[in-house]
């Protein structure tokens, strides 16, 4: 077998890899969208007055957060069909990622809401604002900037965890690299290219998140330009 990096081979498989990258981006985007919504539901469970719901919610979040995403993927993919629910690998992957990262996002939301000073609530009370109005016009606009760094980090986090989807057969970038590598008996180029593609996407994304954070802080008047 030829040693060293074969540029011609890398060039040959490049289109295939780039197409698969598109799938990775879609998977990350859809998974993130689901996680954002799931996080809201966990947040609701946390803030409802019912003690039982609080406890169940907390234990569920704790369970999901302290077990590996990989086995959760296997669980959803292999167990649901036994109960007659047949979902595609894509759907299973998206649901699992949404659930897993939803628990993390609910913590981000919680931290952001707690970051809003209590006096803001009291002032709204004093002004006789309704709860909905208080959330919409006073609390959420202040909580959102606090949540942005955390939310951005988990977007990058989900992106980096999408290769796990290949284990249940979702045709994303890593899956494509493994397939190409197996077909040609060469893993050096495909896996190296996966690494480079991830770097070229996630480093700008992380920089963008950092930049966004700074801009929000400036807009909020926390930092002077």
């Amino acid at each position: 077998m030829e040693m060293g990096f074969r540029w011609d081979f890398a060039y040959e498989i490049l289109p295939q890899m780039l197409w698969a990258t598109l799938n990775t981006i879609i998977a990350a985007g859809v998974g993130y969208a689901i996680a954002l919504v799931v996080g809201l539901f966990f947040l609701l469970g946390q803030r409802t007055p019912s003690k039982i719901v609080n406890v169940i919610n907390r234990e569920l979040v704790e369970f999901i957060r302290s077990t590996p995403l990989l086995i959760q993927l296997f669980f959803v993919y292999f167990v649901l069909p036994q109960f007659g629910i047949k979902l595609s690998a894509w759907l299973c992957g998206m649901i699992t990622i949404g659930l897993h990262f939803g628990t993390y996002l609910s913590e981000v939301y919680r931290g952001a809401l707690e970051g809003v000073s209590k006096t803001q609530w009291e002032a709204c009370r004093a002004l006789n604002f309704s709860t909905v109005y208080t959330y919409r016009r006073i609390v959420l606009p202040q909580a959102f900037p606090i949540a942005i760094p955390g939310m951005g980090n988990y977007l990058v986090g989900i992106f980096k965890d999408t290769p796990l989807l290949s284990t249940i057969g979702v045709a994303e970038l890593f899956h494509a690299a493994t397939a190409v590598g197996g077909y040609n008996y060469r893993y050096l180029e495909p896996y190296t290219m996966v690494g480079i593609i991830f770097l070229t996407l996630s480093i700008p994304a992380a920089m963008w998140v950092r930049n966004l954070e700074k801009r929000v802080n400036v807009a909020q008047g926390k930092i002077k330009q």
Binding site: M3, G4, E62, F63, S66, T67, P68, L69, L70, I71, Q72, F74, F75, F78, V79, Q82, K160, D161, T162, P163, L164, T167, F174, T178, G181, Y187, L188, Y191, T192, V194, G195, F198, L199, S202, I203, A206
Partner: protein, 220 residues
């Protein structure tokens, strides 16, 4: 087949896998702590070359996926004549990946030590090595342990990935049993429970204990 019958038959296998998972966890935790100390200090070096190396290392390992790194170490390094055993490859990849995250924690911890401590050590004419070793490092533990504890729980979860490069750990055994018996709910459910118990009732209490000890050591 009842769940108890399942446990009686496959429980020992799963426990054997759990032992491997613990071994992977301990080895990679030791490796990542060492790496994060070294690169966390390098990141704060005044020499731009040293700082640059650390920055590249950190950005590289934080910017790519752990699974990709793991496969690269296991399947690609042999192309360069370096064949690692699956267990070693898994530990190395985990250690390098988490070391990058840990280095940032160490860096933030060192920066969080009050400036007066540096100045006092300087005023007492301590050598730079002694300053770091005797004054700064002992003080960073109460600062870095809480985020490091989170990272270590993430590490336990991440050890599941080594199953994909044929390390026979808990995840590997669960997958194996699943492919023989097709009792997916039982085997993956049990694996999830074991990971949960390890994290919640062993690892987290241990790390909390470490935090308490570290806080007491600096007199808090």
């Amino acid at each position: 087949m009842s769940y108890f019958a399942f446990l009686a038959e496959h429980g020992p296998t799963l426990l054997l896998g759990t032992v491997t998972t613990i071994k992977v966890l301990v080895c990679s935790a030791i490796l990542y702590v060492i790496i994060s100390m070294i690169f966390g200090l390098m990141r704060l070096s005044k020499k731009s070359a040293i700082q640059g190396i650390a920055t590249v290392y950190i950005e590289f390992f934080r910017g790519t996926s752990l699974l990709v790194q793991l496969f690269w170490v296991y399947y690609v390094l042999p192309f360069f004549g370096l064949s690692l055993e699956a267990f070693v490859a898994g530990v190395v990849a985990l250690g390098l990946n988490f070391g990058a995250y840990g280095a940032e924690i160490v860096r933030a911890g060192i920066l969080a030590v009050p400036k007066g401590q540096w100045e006092a050590a300087h005023a007492l004419n301590f050598s730079p090595t002694k300053r770091i070793k005797r004054i700064i490092i002992p003080q960073i533990f109460p600062i870095i342990l809480p985020p490091a504890a989170n990272l270590t729980v993430e590490l336990l979860k991440a050890t599941a990935l080594v199953a994909l490069v044929t390390v026979v750990d808990l995840t590997f055994e669960a997958k194996q049993i699943n492919s023989i018996t097709w009792l997916s709910a039982q085997c993956f459910g049990t694996a999830l429970l074991i990971y949960y118990i390890m994290a919640r009732f062993a690892l987290v209490p241990f790390l909390r204990w470490l935090e308490v000890v570290a806080a007491r050591k600096v007199g808090r």
